[in-house]
């Protein structure tokens, strides 16, 4: 297994950019908080150190397993070409619209069929042992990237709440706040965004909750402060800005499945042999490359996950 650190992109190219972005978010945050203080008198928020923590930048992490040595997609593309319907249905707009998105205070509630339901503060979660996972990301639209995520296995969070044996699925919910998410003012999708995994998928070592990428905290437009990454599934399964994780007995209905059940199934495993009803999934365009490349079964993670679906008809369970 090849484990590689982000050697493709020189530090000189990344660091100034991220510092620049953080400085901007710091200033913007300060301006917004000052405004709020004048209007709503939230003075405590300003002097509380937690408010400022998000602007303090680099994460401590170790190299994790399953990393690919493929060329990593530049930060500029990861942060300026992505789907985030809570901000906009346009892939170029979230970068600008998410600039002032506030990720503090932020908690993640873990509840449902567990013996010890808990509410985790985001800054507590950032202190979990973090790993870098360089994963391929395949969007259902036919493009892909290689992203050096930083996060921790979802399993290590679920282990802390003592799962009830009745729990068969995990249901994730994004933040619902149309004031902060302009896209939620329109009913393009049913808000809040909901996603789900089967228990064995959720506990799989490949499945992580990401809190950063390229050695920094997650950019707002990529799902800050915490998002799901399941590299063998299409990108839309990677729910962003998670506020609730609920353990349930019955299979949750994902937002995209609700929107178009014949196009987006619950599993949504990357599969070149099962086309989207409106376009082929046989090939993909890796961002930054000219020619399309063949899409791999389970996005190339078949060795790790194919056994989860042994005996299942993947055409039916798309």
């Amino acid at each position: 297994m090849l484990i590689q650190r982000s050697s493709d992109v020189p530090g000189s190219e990344i660091t100034p950019k991220s510092l620049y972005m953080n400085r901007r978010s710091l200033l913007a945050g300060a301006a917004m908080l000052a405004g709020e203080a004048l209007v709503g008198g939230k003075l405590l928020d300003i002097i509380s150190p937690a408010t400022w923590a998000f602007a303090a930048t680099k994460l401590n992490y170790t190299a994790g397993p399953f990393g690919t040595n493929e060329k990593q997609t530049p930060l500029q593309d990861i942060t300026h070409y992505n789907n985030y319907y809570e901000f906009s249905t346009d892939k170029y707009e979230p970068a600008e619209l998410a600039k002032n998105f506030q990720t503090r205070p932020w908690t993640v509630r873990v509840e449902g069929l567990v013996n010890k339901p808990q509410t985790f503060d985001i800054d507590t979660l950032l202190k979990m042992p973090l790993e870098e996972r360089i994963y391929r990301m395949r969007c259902v639209e036919g493009w892909s990237m290689v992203i050096p995520w930083i996060g921790f296995p979802l399993k290590s969070l679920l282990d802390q709440v003592q799962l009830n044996s009745k729990a068969k699925f995990v249901e994730f919910t994004s933040l619902y706040d149309p004031k902060r998410f302009p896209g939620q003012n329109r009913n393009v999708l049913e808000w809040p965004y909901v996603e789900g995994l089967r228990m064995d998928e959720a506990m799989h070592p490949l499945t992580i909750l990401a809190v950063g990428l390229y050695s920094d905290v997650l950019p707002n437009q990529d799902g800050a402060p915490i998002r799901l990454v399941v590299p063998w599934k299409y990108g839309f399964k990677g729910i962003k800005a998670i506020v609730k994780i609920r353990l349930v007995e019955r299979q949750p209905v994902s937002t995209w499945t609700k929107a178009a059940p014949n196009e987006y199934g619950f599993y949504s495993n990357v599969n070149p042999n099962v086309d989207h009803p409106r376009w082929s999934q046989a090939k993909e365009r890796r961002i930054g490359e000219f020619f399309k490349r063949p899409t791999l079964m389970f996005n190339g993670y078949g060795d790790q996950v194919a056994s989860l679906y042994a005996g299942m008809d993947l055409k039916k369970n798309f």
Partner: protein, 209 residues
Amino acid sequence: MKPKYLKPIVFLACLLPLGRLGWKALNSALGANPIQVITFSTGTWTLTFLLTTLSITPLRKLTKLYWLIQYRRMLGLFAFFYGCLHFLTYVWLDQFFDLHSIYKDVWKRPFITAGFTAFVLMIPLAVTSTQWAIRKLGKRWQALHRLIYISAVAGVVHYIWLVKKDVRTPVIYAIVLGTLLLYRIVVLLLGASPSVVPLRVRRSPMSGD
């Protein structure tokens, strides 16, 4: 009155979308997925030119600027021009001449079938756009060129079907097209001729009709 020198100005203006794309390409300003941007831009401009072409007849009737008819052919040919660029982008940059994959796409994917139909129907219109063909075909010319209605409908359907969820923009195209087609239906029901054969204009180009 018809402004002088308008024709070359309109002609150059019609090339602006292409110029803008070229300029962005040279400055690496096409973003993370340049081929998608080129495909999208040439596609929407094809539709825009088709709708502009279709709006000439209602416009000249409503505004009594009868000389507008002289721009219909040019606009229609620009629709075909951008349609060619769009098709070429798909065949060359997107599929890289993978004929098998293109064949499957055209037959299996309704949105590509619709787009392909819209493009193919524009070919006879472009071919018969010469003065010679108009004279040669006589009355049949107008009948043939009614294919533009089908082409435009197929083009808008192509756009609506390819969008994942947010159909706001394609629906705007659909509303404009619907209005332009409705105008013709109303005129037809009222018993008047919805358009004027270009021959008449040709005979007396300066008369202002």
